[in-house]
């Protein structure tokens, strides 16, 4: 499905602010795999995700989705395969456009826009059904501006938008980090049900170790631009937070401080 081979990325090379973000990272995701990614600040989690999404090009290595080499594709072209939810709830939706218009754009992800009117009555009915599945009462607010919604509602909507046109790969970049615990829990359980129902291949960054253990079929841990721990399904099931900390210390050769990984 997703095949990353030996990618590296250095920001501002040759300058005083040079920062090595990814060093020779390889990762293979099987279809339907739900991988949670943890690691401290600056470990390279977001850089990995943005490299896959095409926000910036990688220095070396290749990225392949279903045997299509997308390494040199611009961000918008990769969107044909990839659905994304960002950490900032404001990022995933267009605030001063209607819910309906946002959904219409997402429903056409990866298609060349035409001069057709942007959504029909039949499509609106479909949007209403999808929205009622969120249980947020948004199905009656198709014509409300997205800017009027709360952060949690916007994140739920973004999740729906990222998955309504079946993506080959779903990227979740700490998509609950900016929400209060109760809302975060709601969005997470929504994530779980959508990913399971649509059998989505998913990569989810999280700061929360318990979420990383609870969700998904595989867990990877990053440190200083490398993947240092990779736990598969069977092994992951019995894992506790303290096991994870031990694994980390063994692999990284240094103690895990609460600064480098947020525990909750």
């Amino acid at each position: 499905m997703l095949d990353i081979k030996h990618i590296s990325k250095t920001f501002n090379p040759g300058t005083i602010t040079e920062k090595v973000a990814l060093t020779d990272v390889s990762l293979h995701l099987a279809p339907g795999e739900f991988v949670t990614v943890i690691g401290g600040n600056g470990a390279g989690k977001s850089t990995l995700m943005n490299s896959i999404a095409g926000t910036y090009p990688v220095d070396t290595g290749t990225i392949t989705i279903d045997s299509t080499d997308i390494t040199k594709w611009p961000e918008h072209k990769r969107a044909k395969f990839i659905g994304r939810v960002f950490q900032d709830p404001m990022m995933g939706t267009a605030a001063n456009m209607m819910i309906e218009e946002n959904l219409a754009i997402a429903a056409r992800r990866g298609k060349t826009p035409t001069l057709r009117w942007s959504s029909s009555a039949k499509e609106r009915e479909h949007y209403r059904e999808l929205l009622s599945g969120l249980h947020l009462g948004l199905e009656d607010r198709l014509e409300s501006h997205v800017g009027l919604l709360s952060g949690g509602q916007r994140q739920a909507l973004t999740l729906l938008m990222a998955t309504m046109a079946q993506p080959k790969l779903l990227l979740l970049d700490e998509h609950t980090a900016a929400l209060d615990p109760k809302t975060a829990e709601k969005v997470l359980s929504l994530t779980k049900s959508i990913v399971e129902r649509q059998h989505l291949t998913t990569l989810m960054i999280t700061h929360n170790m318990r979420d990383a253990l609870r969700l998904g079929t595989r867990l990877i841990m990053m440190y200083e631009g490398r993947i240092i721990v990779d736990v598969k399904e069977e092994q992951k099931k019995g894992l506790q937070v303290k096991d994870l900390l031990e694994l980390f210390e063994k692999a990284a050769g240094s103690e895990l401080t609460s600064d480098s990984l947020l525990l909750s």
């Binding site: 960002f86 990022m91 456009m97 001069l115 057709r116 009117w117 990222a162």
Partner: protein, 296 residues
Amino acid sequence: MTALIIATVSQGLLWALMAIGVYITFRVLDIADLTVEGTFPLGAATCATLLTAGWQPIPAMLMACLAGCLAGVVTGLLTTKLKIPALLAGILTMIALYSVNLRIMGKANLPLLTQDTIFTLYSFGLDKATAQLAIGFIVVLLTAVVNYWFFGTEIGAAIRATGVNPHMIRANGINTDIMVVLGLLLSNGLVAVSGALVAQSNGFADVGMGVGTIVIGLASVIIGEVLFGTRSFKNCLISVILGSIVYRAVIAVVLQMGMPPNDLKLFTAILVAIALSMPLIQSRWRKFKKDRKAAN
């Protein structure tokens, strides 16, 4: 008095196309596009030159529109492909257009006294002032309807979303560069048609007639938004058109009150500066009131 009102409203309508153009860049795309200072006289110059060469008014205006679209594309490519900041890209095209406009006309001022214009050819027996009002109304109505339709299509929605949140629209597979170029094309096409109409109404095209276009456009947009609302895209379009008419009315009133015409640009600039700083002034004022309340 009636004559003055008719003249004011029809001027407002002819300039409203330009205001819609500025609305598309300033509000929809979130770019302050100075190209319009050059495309307004470009439209006038193209249309006047073709009329002088014996063209019919409507084909001449279509060519003016096309010229404006091209100028918009140039600014669009400068900012998207060559990564020149949009403001500077617009200034570059605007300056280049000054020379282009002189080349098109061959001189700085081209009178249109004997040629048939859209207002004389399609007057249907109305007097000159009423004909301008009627034709202005029809053209603006047509433009508004086409714009309303266009910005409701998939491409139109993608352009709007590009202005609001480029991250979101890229994540949904849209090439934002193309959308920016398209928006600038449409905007400058409209501004050029406005220039062509104003030249025919004034009876001449002048290389200097674009000075202050952007400020007049902004004034119309802001006045319209404040007075007539921004609830929906349709509402915004209507607001901008009415804003353009109100702006002309304000100008007519201050001129009647004895303000020298040479001070008009200064007056307009101050008006726009105040309007653009309103959000800041309002928040400061609210904070000031809150602080005083807390102190008491």
